[in-house]
């Protein structure tokens, strides 16, 4: 975390993780930002303003924010089809994000990528991906590039539980370990690959069980506890930076939204969803910080007001931006127009 202004957060015997009060409040604000953006995107999808396939990350904010808090701005990140939270937490510009979803020229990819193909190399966000498991070898390659170029960054690779049955998952874990590359594999295990429970798709109960095949250090993390995520990623990143190679972290979480906007979610009982909503990662951090006296009702209202403003301005920006010109349909296939 960047902030050094405050004293290190001293909880009453709780986990401090080397974080200041300002760091913790910043994490809370980021989680609110991710949630509010997803709520806004959902609303604008229903209005028909945002087209296409949209995958929301509601309920999974602690993973994106905990990971991003533990890495530096120049560290790299690869993502998945459920990328909004990763992009925003990594430092992607909210206005460019919203404009991209609207397909506008001011989007981070000039409107040509969209929700599943967000890229912002300036903030180290190497890409969302429309293909499950496709980001893993790309992350390994970024780590390989770090080694070859002698630069100072680590790469974090997000993937979902669905990806652990893809060949690229296994090829990537093997290559990362055999070459001891500085990459942190972060699984967001949200229990479902579209409609299928993870337990219907594989015999091993945990994604992290796979790691043993590659002698890859792994651990299970409470993906709804942003501090647990932060601590685990900090350790894994420190290992990667010091030449001790890759780590796999399986963050157990749950998407409380459907797989995509429009999903009827008939494949899972409502009680299960409610059970997980009760474990909401944002409420959890709020409760914790209030108990510790770090957060007050007024401070929370201020956080929500600031977040609302960011979301509102981003939405206005997206709506008021122009669509790309017709030329952009044929531009950017190759580096130089033929």
């Amino acid at each position: 975390m960047a902030s050094n202004k405050n004293e290190e957060f001293e909880s009453g015997g709780g986990v401090t993780n080397g974080l200041t009060e300002a760091d913790l409040l910043d994490m809370l604000e980021k989680m609110h930002l991710l949630r509010s953006f997803d709520e806004r995107v959902s609303e604008r999808c229903k209005r028909g303003e945002i087209p296409g396939l949209i995958h929301l990350g509601m309920g999974e904010e602690a993973v994106a924010v905990g990971v991003s808090a533990a890495i530096k701005p120049n560290d790299k990140m690869t993502s998945t089809h459920r990328a909004h939270g990763h992009f925003l937490a990594k430092g992607g510009d909210p206005k460019a994000f919203m404009a991209e979803l609207y397909g506008k020229q001011t989007g981070c990819c000039r409107g040509k990528g969209g929700s599943m193909h967000l890229v912002d190399l300036d903030c180290g966000f190497l890409g969302a991906n429309g293909v499950v498991g496709a980001g893993l070898p790309i992350a390994v390659g970024a780590a390989l590039g770090q080694r070859i170029l002698g630069e100072d960054f680590v790469t974090v690779c997000f993937f979902g539980d669905g990806a652990n049955n893809q060949g690229t998952f296994h090829e990537s874990l093997n290559l990362a370990t055999v070459w001891n590359l500085p990459v942190v594999f972060v699984c967001e295990n949200n229990e479902y690959g579209i409609s299928q429970s993870i337990h219907a798709q594989q015999k091993v109960p945990h994604v992290s069980d796979r790691a043993a095949s590659y002698l890859l250090p792994a651990r299970i993390v409470d993906g709804n506890d942003v501090l647990d995520v932060y601590t685990a990623v900090s350790e894994a990143v420190a290992a990667a930076r010091s030449g001790r190679g890759p780590t796999l972290l399986e963050c157990k979480t749950y998407r409380t939204a459907g797989h995509y906007e429009g999903d009827d979610q008939s494949y899972r009982p409502k009680e299960e969803v409610d059970e997980w909503k009760a474990k909401d990662p944002i409420r959890r951090l709020e409760r914790q910080l209030m108990q510790e006296g770090v957060l007050t009702d007024d401070a929370l209202d201020e956080i929500k007001a600031r977040v609302w403003k960011v979301v509102e301005e981003a939405t206005e920006h997206a709506i008021n931006s122009q669509y790309p010109s017709a030329d952009d349909a044929t531009n950017h296939v190759f580096a130089i127009a033929r």
Binding site: C108, A134, L136, G141, A142, G145, I148, F334
Partner: protein
């Protein structure tokens, strides 16, 4: 000028590119200690070390995917896939990742990546080690496609491919690795997108690439005995296509044969014929002809493989038949 094989010419291109630019590295199966199954990367490990000459596990998706990732952060990888037939295992990384990055990012991301892949039949290797799959690649916007027929072009095109900011599919015919010819010394680049007239002629144009260029040159030599002068265009690059050179040639010869080793249906020959018909219909004295493999997998048995490689022997007859067709249009 020294003589060398195509494998040696490609090796020299690797050395020059890697000496000049520390961002360039080689990656693939058996390319380091073993020197590559075709010896193209021989000696690179000793000269450049293990960091930049990466022997990989048998994991083609990881080879291509990790090259894409390395390219995104500023490297310029040269990867080797020993048989293009294996691209089924890494196709997503090629067509959805490498080929799409520039476009999906609105031009902000580059994947400067050279994918060297051996192709071609003639050695009895059977269905999984003999195909010519260039049309799979030409049908994907975002990938340049290069297929040299001679060692000098192989060297100059590989150097150009490494310099290129886009993914380049670089096809090397297995039977051409040992083909020997003169090759200029030092650095030079053969521009991607420029075809080459390997033999001039007035009577008809043969457009071809890779090993088929050698078939065309033999057929042209034999046809010349009968007084038929073939112009042989070695395409060298399929994407971007040097359409102007083809148009110009057909404008002079008024007859077109496209010859390729790949099978017929949806082969790149169909694309060339279409473009010539669209642009130069009025110049054609006869319908264009495609000489290609039949629509079959490549059989293992040598007599059957010869049937697959029929274009080599069909070309001369096709030249004679096509020049025997009188211009109908001009008589009107």
């Amino acid at each position: 000028m020294p003589e060398m094989t195509m494998a040696q010419a490609l090796n020299e291109a690797h050395r020059i590119a890697m000496q000049e630019d520390s961002r360039v590295f080689a990656i693939g199966e058996d390319i380091g200690d073993y020197g590559g199954i075709y010896r193209v990367t021989d000696g690179l490990l000793d000269e450049f070390g293990k960091d930049r000459v990466r022997d990989t596990p048998i994991s083609e998706a990881a080879i291509v995917g990790s090259s894409v990732g390395a390219a995104l952060v500023g490297c310029r990888p040269i990867l080797e896939i020993g048989f293009v037939d294996f691209v089924g295992t890494c196709w997503d990384q090629i067509i959805n990742q490498a080929a799409k990055y520039r476009y999906l990012s609105g031009g902000k991301a580059s994947v400067p990546l050279v994918m060297r892949m051996a192709c071609g039949a003639g050695l009895g290797y059977g269905v999984h080690h003999s195909q010519s799959m260039e049309a799979w690649f030409t049908h994907t916007p975002g990938i340049k496609v290069v297929m040299p027929a001679f060692p000098d072009d192989a060297k100059g095109l590989l150097l150009a491919a490494v310099d290129d900011d886009d993914p380049v599919a670089f096809f090397e015919h297995k039977l051409l690795y040992t083909f020997k010819d003169t090759v200029p010394e030092g650095r030079y680049a053969v521009p991607i997108g420029k075809a080459n007239i390997r033999r001039e002629g007035r009577d008809l144009t043969i457009v071809c690439w890779s090993r088929a260029v050698h078939w065309a040159l033999v057929a042209a030599e034999k046809a010349a005995v009968d007084g038929i002068e073939c112009e042989v265009i070695d395409l060298r690059t399929l994407v971007p296509l040097d359409e102007g050179l083809i148009q110009n040639s057909v404008g002079r010869t008024n007859r077109l044969i496209v010859c390729h080793e790949a099978c017929r249906t949806s082969g790149f020959g169909a694309e060339i014929v279409s473009r010539v018909v669209e642009s130069s219909f009025d110049f054609l004295d006869a319908p264009p002809v495609r000489i290609t493999a039949p629509d079959i997998p490549v059989p293992n048995s040598l007599p059957l493989e010869k049937i697959y490689l029929g274009p080599e022997n069909e070309l001369l007859d096709a030249v004679r038949n096509l020049t025997a067709v009188h211009s109908h249009k001009r008589q009107h």
